[in-house]
Each structure stands twice: as structure tokens, then as C-alpha cells.
């Protein structure tokens, strides 16, 4: 059981973490773009 559980867990955790990273990155970039539209200072990073 352990091998299968480890394989499924590693896959799920990796893909969920990658999805969260991409969602946060997209939200940050979209927020910066909206702030730039308003002419505010944005974080260059």
C-alpha cells in the first residue's frame, strides 16, 4: 500500500503546489497591470 500511496501523494502535492504558485503569480501580475493602468508605482519584482 505504501508505495502506491507515496506515488499518488507526491504527484498530488507537486501539482497542487505548482497550481497555487501559478495562480498567485498570475494574480500578482494582473494586479500590477491594473495598478499601472491607474498610474501607481508598482513593485518591479
Amino acid at each position: 500500500v505504501t508505495y502506491a500511496v507515496v506515488a499518488y501523494t507526491v504527484t498530488a502535492v507537486t501539482l497542487v503546489a505548482y497550481g497555487i504558485y501559478l495562480a498567485r503569480e498570475a494574480a500578482g501580475l494582473a494586479r500590477d497591470a491594473a495598478a499601472r493602468e491607474r498610474g501607481e508605482e508598482t513593485n518591479p519584482g
Partner: protein, 254 residues
């Protein structure tokens, strides 16, 4: 601040409103694919849990519903990198170059998982994390390194048309490894540790439903992540372009 302006600004925060063409479609695909995934995942989990155990094998055999689907999607990611590069060379439209970058990124994540889940399966089935005599293991590692190098090439350079052209050719050449990786079991003529490639009716009837649900679930996950990754790449390009436009004339020579 007027209500109309507030509404306009909140709309501007949506990535789909900042992008055009196929990248806008990708941004709009994120939510429906996520919802479809939320529906499909419990069905897949149930089918894996309730699938009968193959004769003479342990529960580890259920990695069958994970490892090959991940491998097919890694192939798809690298194929799309080559296709994006080819379309970029043909049309010079930057969104194809960004598709190539995005699919290489998701492909490498999937290929990493193929290597990890394969090693776990190998340990369970052969008592060996890495069967060095198996040509598919070696070729999968080579494929992983080839596209990891592609990602590094794109990440550590300044961008621009020349880099995109070189990367497109590299990405297209890398695709040649995919059929070799798939058919190497046949070419090895019984010397490979991997079982023969799956063929029609080669999976027992009780194992088919979880296997095909696995194919659908991990493909949908791949498409969801690819849409997200493509959107990020497009937003980064938009931000870089706007910063370049905002820079006063001559600043680059300062």
C-alpha cells in the same frame, strides 16, 4: 471614485481582460477546466480505490493508473513545445513562442513526476529504484534534461527574436526523442525491464475504467496547468512591454 471606474478597475484585474487572441482563450479556460477537474477527481479516486487487484501483484500495481498517463502528458507537453516553436518560426507570432515556453514548463513538471513515480514502481516491482539496463529509463532522463535545458535557456536570457528562434529549433529537435522513448521497448527486444507498450485489450477488463479515467484526469490537469502557465507567460510579456514603453527615450544608454 465613481462606481463605473471601480468596476472597470476590478475588471482589469482579470488576466483575460489583459490578454488577446489564444492567450485570452487560455485565461478563460482556467475556470471551466478547474471545475471539470473538481468533478472528475473524486470519480477517478473512487475508481482507483475500488479497482480489482491484478493477479500476483500488490497494491503498488495501482500506480498503473498514474504513471503511464503522466508519461503521455509529458510527451504532449514536449510535443507542444516543438509545435509552438514550429508555429513561431512560421508565423513569427510571439504567443506561439510563449506557448512553447509554457508547455515545456508543465512538461518538465510532469516528466519529473514520471521519473519519481517510475522509481517508486520500480522499487515495488523489481526491488530496484533505477534499473540502469532499461533503455526507457535512460531516455526519459535524457528527455527530462533536454527540456530542463530549454527552460534554463529561456529563463536566463534576455529574450528577443534570436533567442526565440534558437529555442524553437532546439524544442523541435527535442521532439525526435519522443517516438524513440516510446518505441525503445520494441527496439530493445526483450532486454528492457519495462513491460511491452500498452496495446488494445492488453489491460484486463476490470482495470480499464480506472486507467481511462486516469488518462482523462491527468490530461485535464495538464491542460488546466498549461492554461495557467501560458497566462503567466503572457502577463510577464505584457508587463515587460509596458515597462519598456514607459521608459524615457535614451534611458537604455544611460
Amino acid at each position: 471614485m465613481s462606481e463605473e471606474r471601480l468596476r472597470r478597475e476590478s475588471r482589469m484585474r482579470s488576466p483575460a481582460d489583459l490578454l488577446r487572441g489564444p492567450e485570452r482563450i487560455a485565461a478563460r479556460a482556467v475556470r471551466p477546466t478547474g471545475i471539470a477537474l473538481a468533478v472528475l477527481l473524486p470519480v477517478y479516486a473512487w475508481s482507483v480505490a475500488s479497482a480489482p487487484q491484478a493477479v500476483g501483484q500488490g497494491v503498488w500495481q495501482k500506480i498503473l493508473y498514474l504513471h503511464p498517463p503522466l508519461a503521455f502528458d509529458a510527451y504532449l507537453g514536449f510535443f507542444l513545445t516543438g509545435l509552438g516553436g514550429l508555429l513561431y518560426l512560421w508565423t513569427r507570432r510571439e504567443h506561439f513562442d510563449r506557448l512553447a515556453i509554457a508547455s515545456a514548463g508543465v512538461g518538465v513538471v510532469y516528466c519529473s513526476l514520471v521519473l519519481v513515480t517510475g522509481a517508486i514502481w520500480g522499487k515495488a516491482a523489481w526491488n530496484n529504484w533505477w534499473a540502469r539496463e532499461d533503455p526507457r529509463l535512460t531516455l526519459t532522463a535524457v528527455l527530462w534534461f533536454v527540456y530542463l535545458a530549454y527552460i534554463m535557456l529561456r529563463a536566463f536570457n534576455q529574450g528577443g527574436e534570436r533567442e526565440a528562434r534558437i529555442a524553437a529549433v532546439y524544442g523541435i529537435l527535442g521532439v525526435l526523442l519522443i517516438p524513440l522513448n516510446y518505441y525503445v521497448i520494441d527496439l530493445a527486444g526483450g532486454r528492457a525491464a519495462h513491460p511491452a507498450n500498452l496495446e488494445r485489450d492488453s489491460i484486463g477488463s476490470g482495470l480499464r475504467l480506472p486507467f481511462f479515467l486516469g488518462l482523462a484526469t491527468w490530461l485535464l490537469t495538464f491542460l488546466h496547468l498549461l492554461a495557467r502557465r501560458w497566462v503567466v507567460q503572457a502577463l510577464r510579456a505584457t508587463a515587460a512591454r509596458r515597462q519598456a514603453e514607459a521608459r524615457p527615450l535614451g534611458e537604455e544608454y544611460a
